[in-house]
Symmetry: C2
Subunit: 292 residues, 2 copies
C-alpha cells in the first residue's frame, strides 16, 4: 500500500468531519467533500486486486478488495459495477437538486458505490475500525435526506420538562418539515442484526412523547451481508420474524431502505404486518407522498 | 503466566458449558461447576499483582490485576475484599438452599467476587474476548435464579401462530412459576450502556404478546464501570435520564439488580417514574413478595 494514497482518503474524510461541525448538512461544501472522499477512495481501490467470494445469497455475487491477506467487506458485484457507471450522473443530479432524469435503481447503485468504496478502504487499512465507516455512512445518507428535503436535521429534541432536569432527548437525525407536517426520524446503520430492535424502541419513545404518527420512522441500511473469514463465504443475516413482532408490538416504521436490499426482507412488503422495505433510490421519488 | 493454570480455568469453564447443555440449570452439578470455575480463577489471580486505579466514582476504590502491561477490568476493592470472606458461606447456602443466615449485602459481594474473578482472567489472557465473560455471567446469574426459584428457565416462548410460520420467540431467560403466577423475564448483562434500550424493548414485546404484567422484567447487571486505558481512571457510564424515558414510554421493568451498584442509579428509586434499582443480594429476600 502506498501510504500517501491512504493519507489522501483520510485527509478528505477529516475535511468532511470538520465541515459537519458547521451544522449545515445540506450544503454544497459537504456534497463536494463527500465527492472528494469517493474520488480518493476509488483511486486507491483501483490499485488493488479483487478476490471473488463464495455467495450463499441467491442471485447475488460478491467480491472483496484484497491487501496481502486482508480482505475488505463483501461487495455486491452487480450493484458495484452498475453504480460505477452512475455515480457521476448522481453527483450531478445532487448538485442541481434535479432527480427526474435518474432512475431509482441508478440512485441506489450510485449510493452503494459511494458508501462501500470508503468502507472497503477502512476495512483494508484500519483493521477493526467499525466506527469510521458507520460515521461516514451516517453523514452521507444524512446529507442526501437534507439535500432532498432542503432542511438540516437535528440530533436532539426538546421534551416537556416536568421533573426531568435534562429537557433534551438525544436522537438519530430528525428532519422537521414545519407545522402540520410529519417529521422524519432517520436511523442510519451499515447493518442491523439483533441491534435493530433499538430502532423500533427509539421510534416508540418518539411516539410516546410526541404522539403516534408525528415522526415517520425511516431506517436506512447499507447491507446485511456477513463474510465468513475462513470460507470466504457471504451470507445475509436477516431476522424477518423478529421484525414482524417489533412492527406489531413496539412501534411502526414507515420505511426501511437498503442500498443492498436483502432477499429475506423483500417478502415483508407482502405479509402482515406490512413493513415497506425498499431499495434506497425509491426515497427520492416517493418522499413527497410520504408527508402528504 | 503459567499456562497450565489458565488451562485449568478454561477446562472448568468448558465443563460448565457442557453441563449447561443438559438443560438442568438449577442442578447441583452446575453449582459445583461454577464453584470450580471460581476456585481455579481465584488460584490463578493470587499469583498476580494488583495495580491501583484512579477512581472518579465517589466512595469507591478500584484496582486491576496485571499481567505485564495488560490489565484486567476494574475491580471494586471493598466489594471484592468483603466478597472474598463471604464466598464460601454463600456457596454453602446455595448447596443447602438456605439463605436465611446470610445478609443481602454479603450475597451481593460474594456474587461479585465469583463473577469478576473469572472475567478478570479472561481479560488478562484472552484479550478482546467480550463474549466469554458475558456468557459465564449469564450462566451464573441464571443458575442463581433457577436455584432460588427451583425452576429451570426457558430461552424461547410459544407465540400465537396466526400467519407467522415461526411460532417461537427467542428470549433471554424466562422462568415460569406456574398458572396464575407472574413469570420472570431476566436479561443478564455484564454492563449495559446505550444497549440497555433493548431490555425495555424486549419487555415491551412480551407485554404486547402475553399481556402487561404477565412477565416481571428483572434486569441483572454486573457493573457500569469503564476503565480508561491511558489514564488508568475508572468512571461509571450511566444514562439515568434515558432510563426514565424508557420506563415511561417503552415498558416497565420490575427490578434492576446490580452487583456493583452505580451511584447514579440509586436516585432512580426516589423519582418519577420509579425504577427500583437494588444490589443483587436483595433478590433472595424479596423474590417471594414480587410474585404475590
Amino acid at each position: 500500500m502506498n501510504n500517501n494514497h491512504l493519507d489522501v482518503v483520510i485527509g478528505e474524510y477529516n475535511n468532511l468531519k470538520k465541515l459537519i461541525k458547521t451544522d449545515d448538512l445540506k450544503s454544497d461544501e459537504i456534497l463536494n467533500a463527500i465527492e472528494s472522499v469517493y474520488d480518493s477512495s476509488n483511486n486507491v481501490l483501483k490499485e488493488y486486486n479483487v478476490v471473488e467470494l463464495k455467495s450463499s445469497v441467491p442471485g447475488k455475487q460478491y467480491f472483496s478488495y484484497a491487501e496481502d491477506k486482508k480482505l475488505s467487506r463483501a461487495i455486491n458485484k452487480n450493484l458495484y459495477e452498475t453504480g460505477l457507471a452512475n455515480v457521476y450522473t448522481f453527483f450531478k443530479a445532487l448538485k442541481n437538486s434535479s432527480y427526474d432524469q435518474i432512475k431509482a435503481e441508478d440512485i441506489t447503485s450510485a449510493c452503494y458505490v459511494i458508501a462501500i468504496s470508503f468502507c472497503a478502504i477502512i476495512d483494508l487499512f484500519k483493521v477493526g475500525d467499525q466506527k469510521t465507516p458507520g460515521t461516514f455512512f451516517e453523514y452521507f445518507i444524512g446529507h442526501l435526506f437534507s439535500r432532498k428535503l432542503q432542511i438540516n436535521p437535528q440530533k436532539k429534541l426538546k421534551i416537556l420538562n416536568l421533573d426531568i432536569e435534562n429537557a433534551n432527548l438525544p436522537t438519530d437525525y430528525t428532519f422537521d418539515l414545519g407545522p402540520n407536517k410529519a417529521k422524519f426520524h432517520v436511523p442510519i446503520k451499515t447493518s442491523t442484526r439483533e441491534r435493530v430492535i433499538q430502532v423500533w424502541a427509539h421510534q416508540r419513545v418518539l411516539d410516546g412523547i410526541y404522539g403516534v404518527g408525528r415522526f415517520l420512522g425511516t431506517l436506512v441500511c447499507l447491507t446485511e451481508t456477513k463474510r465468513n473469514k475462513q470460507k470466504r463465504e457471504v451470507t445475509e443475516i436477516c431476522l424477518p420474524h423478529q421484525w414482524r413482532l417489533y412492527q406489531m408490538f413496539i412501534a411502526q416504521l414507515t420505511r426501511v431502505y437498503y442500498l443492498d436490499m436483502p432477499k429475506a426482507y423483500e417478502n415483508l412488503n407482502k405479509v402482515f404486518p406490512k413493513i415497506v422495505v425498499q431499495p434506497f433510490g425509491v426515497f427520492f421519488s416517493e418522499v413527497d407522498s410520504l408527508t402528504e
